[in-house]
């Protein structure tokens, strides 16, 4: 009957490790500029929040997959095995919507994760909250120090935007290389 052979998702693991590394590097660099934290602290923060969003995404997919309707599962299988989406789903509509929702979801999740990690790793919270009256330099500094949480989410948006762009670029290059093959 069907062949008995174990198929290992090695490409997925390697690609995800690569994307995680790139995302962590870019986001850590952005945090370093925005928050003025130490390099290693930035790396740990961005690594942690990226891991949270990755693990959350995986558990969402793996948990929901058994309850998917047949044509959704078929689309998922097409995507995993053949990098294609067939079935009744229109890819040109689904993909941008899905990408945008993922971006927003990731942003929200990472913001929550960052607040959580700042709370449990309190000794070195990245933005030190000064009293507004102590800051007399300029508006930017005052803005940075007064509304930390808003500033934090702006920095996170920037960092996520850069890393998303980089990963998208890498995917495009991969797609192109695949196409040439």
């Amino acid at each position: 009957m069907p062949p008995f052979e174990l198929v290992l998702p090695l490409r997925a693991i390697v690609l995800q490790a690569l994307f995680l590394t790139v995302a962590v590097a870019i986001e850590a660099a952005v945090f370093e500029r925005q928050f003025g934290m130490s390099k290693s602290g930035c790396v740990i923060y961005s690594f942690a929040i990226n891991l949270v969003s990755t693990v959350f995404g995986w558990s969402l997919f793996l948990g929901l997959e058994p309850f998917l309707p047949e044509d959704w599962r078929m689309a998922a299988m097409s995507f995993v095995f053949f990098n294609q989406v067939f079935g009744n789903l229109d890819i040109s509509v689904i993909a941008p919507v899905l990408a945008f929702c993922t971006f927003l979801g990731t942003l929200f999740l990472e913001l929550q994760a960052m607040n959580f990690f700042i709370r449990i790793w309190s000794p070195s919270s990245p933005p030190q909250q000064h009293d507004t009256t102590q800051v007399k330099f300029d508006r930017l500094t005052r803005y940075r120090s007064s509304e930390t949480s808003r500033y934090r989410s702006n920095a996170l948006l920037k960092a996520n935007g850069y890393s998303y762009g980089a990963i998208l670029l890498m995917l495009l290059v991969l797609q192109r290389a695949n196409f040439i093959n």
Binding site: L10, A12, F82
Partner: protein, 359 residues
């Protein structure tokens, strides 16, 4: 030779000899002792008790072995990229102890729980404080490392679960094997072999069986009726073929039914006979319409000829072998599974899928 053996024995004994009562060697010897006692306590003729002395002693042996390995790897860490791998070795032993033993074997559960169990083993020493007993670590670096380690092991669990999930898909939908995985970003490339088309071939064989059952010794009009019915209503024919296959599968090896029945399109094409002395030529095709690389999936087909002879009764035979067309838009992709490759298949242009009209 003798001195070599002697020195080898001495170094081995020097390593395994307990230096003090509290050492990993003691634990290892305890494990060995428990195992020997368990062997002695084995009584095969006895009525199976729910918990026997043998089982208890074997469990003790396992626990001491786990303790010994954990202790050894804590004393002499095995490091890879600065990360101590000891807890993951100990964790694999714990998973084997918990899930893969004699009467119940759950390799899936064992592998899926392995990262988290190992992470718990790795984290445990950090929570032990000499003065306060159990305490949440106060050092920032330790806290950060614990969080990262927990998350990384969750990611590892997701990867392992995903690996199992795609293998489950391949078991449930065996037709997927017939497509190439070359463009996938998730799994490694592999070259397709004969057995990857086994599902399609089984279907075509069953189609052939049903053709023979339904038309042998029938008159020409009855045969034409059957062929026309199949062309008008291919779903009925498919259900009949798939149900027969599924029944054979469940009675044989007690396995659940494949779920890819609806992903196969079964076609019976009647065409002008190319063989001499044949009245009809029927091409039986199973076309994969499930998840696939190109819009046209792979196809398995077999040509049968129907001959009415002098008795005016149908006799069916299917010369040639079953052909797999991996890419229906490209006639050169036809391959014949099995050894008999000497026969050169002259594939007609496949574009004219409209067969010669019946009747």
């Amino acid at each position: 030779m003798k001195t070599l053996l002697q020195s080898f024995w001495q170094s081995l004994w020097g390593m395994l000899r307990p230096t003090s009562f509290y050492s990993w060697q003691t634990s290892l010897w305890m494990s060995l002792l428990a195992w020997l006692l368990a062997q002695a306590a084995r009584a095969p003729e006895q009525v199976k008790a729910p918990i026997s002395v043998h089982d208890i002693l074997t469990s003790f042996s396992w626990m001491f072995l786990i303790l010994a390995v954990g202790w050894l790897t804590a004393e002499q860490p095995v490091k890879l990229l600065g990360q101590n791998l000891g807890p993951w070795i100990t964790g694999s032993l714990v998973c084997l102890f918990l899930f893969v033993r004699g009467d119940y074997v759950l390799p899936k559960v064992a592998l899926m729980t392995w990262p988290m169990i190992s992470a718990a083993i790795a984290a445990f020493p950090e929570f032990i404080d000499i003065e306060r007993g159990f305490a949440i670590p106060s050092k920032l670096r330790v806290r950060q490392n614990l969080c990262i380690m927990l998350l990384a092991n969750l990611l590892l669990t997701s990867w392992i679960t995903f690996g199992f999930r795609i293998n489950d898909w391949l078991v449930d939908y065996p037709g997927i094997w017939g497509e190439g995985f070359n463009s996938s970003y998730f799994i490694m490339q592999r070259s397709r072999e004969d057995r990857d088309f086994a599902r399609g071939r089984n279907i075509v064989q069953e189609m052939e069986q049903q053709l023979k059952q339904n038309t042998t010794f029938k008159t020409q009009s009855e045969v034409e009726r059957w062929l026309l019915d199949n062309q008008n209503d291919p779903l009925i024919f498919r259900d009949s073929v798939m149900n027969t296959l599924a029944n054979r599968r469940t009675t044989g090896d007690r396995l659940p039914r494949f779920q890819d029945d609806s992903f196969w399109q079964l076609e019976t094409l009647v065409s002008e006979p190319t063989y001499n002395n044949a009245d009809y030529q029927v091409e039986l095709r199973a076309r994969w319409i499930g998840p696939r690389v190109k819009e046209a999936g792979h196809m398995v087909k077999h040509t049968c000829i129907i001959d009415f002879g002098s008795s005016k009764r149908a006799s069916i035979n299917c010369p040639g072998s079953i052909i797999v067309v991996t890419n229906p838009n490209d006639p050169d992709s036809a391959i014949i599974p099995g050894a008999e490759q000497e026969e050169v298949i002259e594939e007609e242009v496949i574009e004219d899928l409209e067969a010669a009209p019946l009747l």
